[in-house]
């Protein structure tokens, strides 16, 4: 808990590091990579639900970070800038996936869904932590790409509405609207699958 807090503090108070990185300091760049690597990986993982895709996007994001950090205009906008790179790479990969790959993913998703459904409809079952993670990822997968991106950025990455709007180049109200409908959809999915807050407490 304490280490997490310190990491969060370091991530949110790294203005001098960002300035040094902008000026070409490789050590500062490496430190920033260490600070943000886990966040970007988890963003991409929740987006794709796939380790290899997430690793690929994360590496591409930080390579772009190394090459383009000097272009960053304001230090305060670093977080949004980094997530914008990651989000663009995620979108690019999704766009490039050919039809057969999409078919494979759909098939794979259907299999996972079937397994997850078998678990969901047993209300007395106690969930292992990893099982619950799988179920929640499955719920995220049911969202469309636009809603999923907004939900992940807000709920897991803690971006402000203004930052998400900046990353996705959308009006703030559109972001809020997508989030509302995304959460509404997730609620329906979780209710249909018997996942309640009581499960978390047990």
């Amino acid at each position: 808990m304490y280490a997490e807090t310190m990491l969060d503090i370091a991530m949110n108070h790294s203005d001098s590091l960002i300035n040094q990185a902008k000026n070409g300091d490789n050590r500062a760049k490496d430190k920033l990579v260490n600070l943000w690597y886990k966040r970007i990986y988890n963003f991409a993982y929740k987006y794709f639900s796939d380790h290899d895709e997430a690793m690929d996007v994360t590496q591409k994001t930080f390579i772009a970070f190394h090459e383009k950090i000097w272009q960053l205009k304001e230090v305060a906008g670093f977080k949004a800038w980094l997530y914008k790179i990651a989000s663009n790479h995620c979108h690019e990969v999704t766009r490039q996936q050919d039809r057969s790959h999409q078919h494979f993913s759909t098939q794979k998703a259907e299999d996972v869904h079937r397994e997850a459904t078998a678990i969901f409809f047993n209300p007395d079952r106690k969930y292992q932590r990893s099982e619950l993670n799988g179920i929640l990822q499955e719920a995220l997968n049911t969202l469309n790409e636009e809603q999923r991106t907004v939900v992940i950025m807000k709920e897991y990455e803690g971006l402000k509405f203004k930052e998400i709007a900046e990353v996705l180049e959308l009006p703030e109200n559109t972001v809020k609207s997508r989030l509302y409908y995304g959460l509404t959809h997730l609620k329906k999915v979780l209710v249909a699958r018997n996942i309640t807050t009581e499960i978390l407490q047990s």
């Binding site: 304490y2 310190m6 490789n26 050590r27 760049k29 490496d30 990579v33 260490n34 690597y37 886990k38 990986y41 988890n42 993982y45 929740k46 380790h51 690793m55 994360t58 590496q59 591409k60 930080f62 390579i63 190394h66 090459e67 932590r129 619950l132 993670n133 929640l136 990822q137 719920a139 995220l140 939900v151 807000k154 709920e155 897991y156 509405f161 109200n173 809020k176 609207s177 989030l179 509302y180 409908y181 959460l183 509404t184 997730l186 609620k187 979780l190 209710v191 996942i195 309640t196 807050t197 499960i199 978390l200």
Partner: protein, 279 residues
């Protein structure tokens, strides 16, 4: 009630981003619309459930700055390498052609491909003569070619040797420089790590000290409260005991008075009886 909040206002409400007035308006609306209130409560629960999704652990790579940018760049590099290879092959052919005195020409007599100077073929010669002329020319050419090849080979060997020696020296120098640089980097990294650890430990002890201080303070406050409560309980206890004692004393006094009254009455009765008997 005419006020109906849209999904943007409800999202702001859900994330606590409304002003107090707006928030009150939404709450008033929700009081009058239980279905919507249940919906908002459900969304809040959904957020709570989704927040249980743990992050996955991942180890950052040691150095990303030297990795190739992407597949496009490697494609470009491959294409450049291919062009360079073709160019090198053409250059080699030209060099070999130059050393072997390669000739290619076309005139009224036909196409001529060969080495060295073109030999005039005398008119009216026989086929055998042409063959012997060709054999002689080819033998001569072959001998010249072999000699040239030996020269080229010797020259290339000496070039390769000198290149190899030079490259070896350059590599050693670079390796030494790199090792020195790595050592400096390692020292700097270790120093940096030590400083960071010192700050972390310092922060930890400071935070732990503050937490301990707060804990002891709270403990003292709790203990004082306990003592106060105990004192009040003791006081009530002794007060009750005193009241009991007083009641008990009053009872005893009444009993004693009754007993004395009874004794006095008995004594009076006896004395009256004695007086009556005497009379």
């Amino acid at each position: 009630m005419s006020y109906i909040p849209d999904e943007i206002t409800l999202t702001n409400y859900l994330y606590g981003e409304l002003s107090e007035d707006e928030s009150n308006k939404v709450e008033e609306y929700l009081k009058q619309n239980p279905a919507m209130a249940a919906e908002i409560k459900g969304l809040s629960s959904t957020r709570e459930i989704m927040s249980a999704y743990d992050d996955k652990e991942v180890i950052p790579p040691l150095d990303l700055s030297n990795k190739p940018k992407n597949s496009n760049v490697s494609d470009v590099r491959k294409r450049i390498s291919r062009i360079m290879a073709i160019a090198a092959s053409v250059s080699l052919l030209l060099v070999v052609g130059y050393f072997t005195d390669f000739k290619l020409s076309y005139n009224d007599q036909g196409l001529f491909i060969g080495f060295k100077k073109q030999t005039e073929i005398p008119q009216g010669v026989t086929l055998d003569q042409i063959e012997s002329l060709l054999d002689a020319a080819l033998d001569k050419n072959l001998a010249v070619q072999n000699q040239n090849l030996v020269e080229v080979k010797t020259e290339m060997q000496s070039d390769y040797q000198s290149l190899f020696i030079n490259q070896g020296k350059t590599f050693e120098t670079k390796l030494e420089q790199r090792m020195n640089f790595d050592k400096q980097e390692l020292d700097r990294y270790t120093k940096d790590l030590q400083e960071k650890n010192a700050i972390l430990v310092n922060d930890y002890f400071r935070t732990a000290g503050l937490e301990q201080q707060t804990y002891v303070k709270n403990l003292l406050i709790d203990f004082t409260g306990y003592l106060e409560e105990q004192r009040v309980q003791d006081r009530d206890f002794y007060l009750n005991r005193l009241i009991d004692l007083k009641l008990s004393s009053d009872l005893k006094q009444q009993e004693t008075e009754q007993m004395l009254t009874s004794i006095i009455k008995s004594v009076n009765n006896i004395s009256t009886e004695e007086t009556t008997q005497n009379f």
